[in-house]
Every structure is written in structure tokens, then in C-alpha cells.
Symmetry: C2
Subunit: 334 residues, 2 copies
């Protein structure tokens, strides 16, 4: 699925040449090396060290690892795109409130990483905004399905979506677009660190599954749960089905608000693959059967899982140096 | 607030000349006459007669009434824009499933009305999509607050929103954008005609108030309820506050999905005016005080009521002949 060529082209860098994309998460930094045509050449991952200095160092190591693997010197890079959680200001090159990374204040991450990489240009992006662009690129290049109108629904530690609407990144007036994890799903339900109760994120995320079905061994909680449910464990079936209904609620929110053409599901839980998709489609079908209105929205036809193993967040981060304009000028700060 | 000039300009029609906008609702057709600069010259309303023929006739009468009032002959019209409930196909000029109007099948409404008006060009639009454009125009022209990124939240018979995102009308891939009234607000709650239970529309709409607090006299239910609550009726306070919380949930859905810069509240219930706005702001403030996350979205600063008495739906419908392009070409069919 991934285009891999061992050797880098000879000669001087083209202005539209190589780029590196990073997806910086709480446990690992994923890196990809993209050529001028958006082909993925190399992939590496390194563990994330917490705190500002740790995250900058981990990011620099990931860049160096993927450049080394591809035989591309840093001087030939057009730039490094970085997807980060938290509040990212692409224009200023800052990140703040990235709690998972141990970064709280407003930090000049782009400048620090650029300095660490001897001046290579660094562009930051919110991780979900990077991922939705990566997902669009992957559907286009890898699956031959060009689509410029989609949501990337991340079922990870939290629950949130990135939105690409008719090719424009939708950040929102206060950068709250796609923050559907903090819509109320269960009135007076589970407490959420955001200060509310019953947030959708408490029911439709990897963390929700970890809490509801702690894995008995080294497997991820989602895999353990779905296996137990498939084996007929009644309690597991109950927990799985409640989770599936909550994810379907998240899909319904996206469709009945922005109505993007595709909903691409990623994040750690999406590694469940076909068994997750089958459960989601079954629940969507069940609800559509009860509601002619919902049936007109054809949701089951519109959901996709991220192709397994493809780091769409890192790919999307690298694309910032490829697309001439992504997002609105007043939003991306160009 | 409304620019009114008694006499029409002399001379032949300019190509960017007069236009009429209609907002066709279940009980009345509202009509406005706009000049080339978007100024509102005349307004009229006529009762809606149900069924295809009745609605076409009522619409034609509304056009004729407003033209007569303005002294503008039909031949000088650039066109008639019509906002209709239901599933509208602007390209084909058809409407279907407009249950409130007694129109079920797919009907060539634009052609029928054009024929009835001796060939005047007629352009259809979904009523909420018309209204959000009208609301943007009104904020711009009347209030001096240009804004091209907003949601129009209609608290009428139903609950739904029109979305203008960075100046582009957002209809959605299956025309489901803004259909937030059918998100679940109360699991296993009140049955909804859409086939689901607990839909937000059953709690945050004019119909919801009619059902929860039938008016004891000729006043609209919202006015009777808010008056009783202000007078200290405990049950009224309870019903009012539950309604306000549901409307706030609708606002939260809009902000945590698309995050438009402004949320403009219209529909019959918005005629409550300042007392409604005060209740909404108080509830938003209360929730923000409990959630630093919600506080960052600054929702209280972003909500507005439609200026009283201004038929934004009809104004927006008329604007289709003024704006060079509204919406995406593949959506509006131009």
C-alpha cells in the first residue's frame, strides 16, 4: 500500500522536494519521508519523551531517523511538518496546553525544533487537522478515491474530529471545530476532565474502553474486548455494543452538523479493523431501519477505516509543504 | 432598521436590479422587495394555502402584493428567490417532502411559479440556507457587522440550522448539514416523527414549547410561558429552564462541530427577544463557569437574535440574484 523506494533521487533539491511529517503523540513520534509527489518513502517511530525539551528532542530524532533511512540529507528538505495535540498556532509556530506531552504554557515549538535541525523550516499543525489532510491524501493516492470533503474521526485517548470541507481545513472561529468529544452523550453521566458530565469522549474513545474493559494481558483493551465479545462473553458484548452505539452517535453528530462526504475513522481503536467496521455498519443499519430520515443520509456507505498501519497524521503533517494553500489564509496565517 | 423608499427608480431595469424574496412557511408566505444594493423596500405577508397549487398561488400573490406596493412592474424584476422547507434542489427547481406545506412528491415548483408570474425567473433554495444568507446580510447592512461565518439556528416548528462557513453555504454531502434537531438529546426520550426517540427538536423548538406549555389564550406559547415564569410560577420556571438548556445544547452542537463565528437565533421563538437572550447567556455562563474548556469557546459573546420583525428568510431568498456565487458550484448547480 505504501510506495517505498530505497534510494533518493540524485541532484540538488527541487523547491517542491522532500518533506518530513511528524505525528507527535503521548507515547510515540511517528515520522514519514515524502517525495515531491506525496509518495511515502520511509517511516520510523521513536518514543516520546515528555516535557518541552523531551518532545523537541524526540521529534528531532524522528526526523533524523527517517532522513537517514531514506538517504536524504537535511539540506535537501523542503521542510518538516509537525502535527501536535493541544492548541497549535500555525502562524506563530507555538503550541500550548498539550497535556499528553507535558507541555502546558505557550511554547515556540517550531523555532526550537528548527534550531535543533540546523535551520530546517518547521511548520506546526494541530494533529487532527494534519490527520484529516493525510486521510484525504491516502484515500486519493493509495485507494484511488479522491475526496476533498471528509471528517477524520479519531478514536484515541480522546475523541475529536478533523474537518476538511470542500478542500478547506475547518478550524473554526475559536479552534473548536470538531471538538465533538465534549458534547453531552449521557445527561449526568461520567465526569469528564473538561468539567462537564456525560461527555461523548467518556463513552466513545480508547480511554473509555480501557476503563470499561481493562485488558487482562498485553493486548490493547479494544482487541481483548472484541475478542471476548466474539467468544460470547455476555458482559463483553454489552460493553462492546455500548461503545459502538457511542461511536455511532459521534458519526451522527458529524453528519447532522457538517455532513462531510466521508467519515474516516482512525486512532488506536481503529486498529480493530473490519470487526469494528462491521459493528458500526450494523448499528447504523439498525438505526436507519427505524428512521426513514436517518436512512436518507446513507451513513453506512460513507464511513471508512484508516488503512491499517498508515500514519495519516504524519503524512498529513508533511503535506503542508506540498499543498499550495490549505485552509483559509486568515486561519493558517500565510 | 429597514430601508424603505416609497417610489421605485425610473428608467429601464438594470441587470442587477430589483428582486423579490419569499419565505414560504406552513402558515404564511413572507415577501420582500430588494433593490440592486440589497436594500429592503417593501414587505408583505399572505396566508399559505396548502398543497402544491395552493402554495404556488399563495407565493404568486405575495410577489404581486410586494411589487404593487413598491410600484415595480414584474417585467423589471431580475427574479424571484424562494425559500422553502423540505428537500429543495436549486438546480432542478424542485421541492419534495415539504410536509408542512402539504407537498410530498418531487414537484417542479420553480417552473410552476415562473409560469404563474408570466416567465419571471424563479430560483429555489432551502429555507434555512436562505435564512442564513439573509441573517448575514442583515448583520452586515443593518447592524454594520459584516460576518461571513455564521449559523442561523431556527427555533420554529422544528429545530435546524443553516450554515454559512467562510461565505460558503454548507449544504452537506447529502443535504443533511445543520439537521441538528435529530441528534439525540434524551436517550429513550420523547418519540420524534423521524423515527428516533429523544431528538433535540422535541425539547428545543416552538412545537416543544407548545406541547409543554399550551398557551391559555391567544398569545404564542413562548410568550405565555416566559411571562408566567417571570411572575414566579414554579412549574413555568422549570419548563422554561429545561427549554433554555435544550437550546443551549443546540448551540453547543454547532460550536463543537463547525464552530461558526456567530450563532444567529431566529424562528418564531426568537420573537421573545431580550428575555430569551438573557436566559441563554445565563445558562451558557453557568456552564462555562463549570468547564474551563467550554469557557474558551466564548459562546455567550457569539450568539445574536434576529432583529425583531425582519424576515431574514425572505431577504436571503432575494439575495440569490445579488450574490455572484453563493455556495459551491457543484452544490448550487450553476
Amino acid at each position: 500500500m505504501v510506495t517505498t523506494t530505497a534510494a533518493a533521487p540524485e541532484g540538488p533539491a527541487r523547491p517542491d522536494g522532500w518533506s518530513v511529517g511528524l505525528d507527535v503523540g503521548g507515547t510515540k513520534v511517528q515520522a514519514v519521508l515524502l517525495d515531491a509527489d506525496g509518495g511515502v518513502h520511509e517511516r520510523r517511530r521513536v518514543p516520546t519523551r515528555r516535557g518541552l525539551v523531551g518532545v523537541v528532542d524526540s521529534s528531532a530524532e524522528a526526523v533524523e531517523a527517517v532522513l537517514h533511512a531514506g538517504g536524504v540529507p537535511a539540506a535537501r528538505l523542503r521542510g518538516v511538518g509537525v502535527g501536535l495535540p493541544g492548541v497549535v498556532d500555525p502562524r506563530a509556530g507555538t503550541v500550548e496546553n498539550a497535556v499528553n506531552l507535558g507541555i502546558t504554557g505557550r511554547e515556540p515549538f517550531a523555532a526550537l525544533l528548527s534550531h535543533r535541525l540546523a535551520g530546517v523550516q518547521v511548520q506546526l499543525e494541530n494533529d487532527l487537522n494534519a490527520a484529516v489532510q493525510g486521510a484525504a491524501h491516502v484515500l486519493d493516492v493509495v485507494e484511488g478515491q479522491p475526496v476533498d470533503d471528509l471528517a477524520f474521526l479519531a478514536l484515541g485517548t480522546g475523541l475529536a474530529a478533523g474537518l476538511l470541507l470542500h478542500g478547506d481545513l475547518r478550524r473554526g472561529a475559536r479552534r473548536a471545530a470538531g471538538e465533538i468529544g465534549h458534547l453531552i452523550y449521557r445527561p449526568d453521566g461520567l465526569p469528564c476532565p473538561c468539567g462537564q458530565r456525560g461527555c461523548l469522549e467518556q463513552y466513545a474513545s480508547g480511554s473509555a474502553l480501557d476503563a470499561a474493559w481493562p485488558s487482562p494481558d498485553d493486548r490493547p483493551a479494544p482487541a481483548a474486548l472484541f475478542e471476548a465479545a466474539a467468544a460470547g462473553d455476555e458482559r463483553a458484548v454489552e460493553v462492546r455494543d455500548a461503545f459502538v452505539r457511542a461511536v455511532v452517535a459521534a458519526i451522527r453528530v458529524l453528519v447532522l452538523s457538517c455532513d462531510p462526504e466521508r467519515i474516516v475513522i482512525g486512532g488506536g481503536v481503529s486498529e480493530l479493523g473490519g470487526q469494528l467496521l462491521a459493528c458500526l455498519v450494523a448499528e447504523l443499519d439498525r438505526q436507519a431501519a427505524a428512521s426513514p430520515f436517518l436512512a436518507t443520509t446513507a451513513m453506512p456507505d460513507r464511513i471508512r477505516l484508516v488503512p491499517p498501519g498508515l500514519p495519516v497524521g504524519a503524512v498529513g503533517a508533511a503535506l503542508v509543504f506540498r499543498a499550495p494553500t490549505v485552509g483559509r489564509p486568515d486561519e493558517v496565517g500565510v
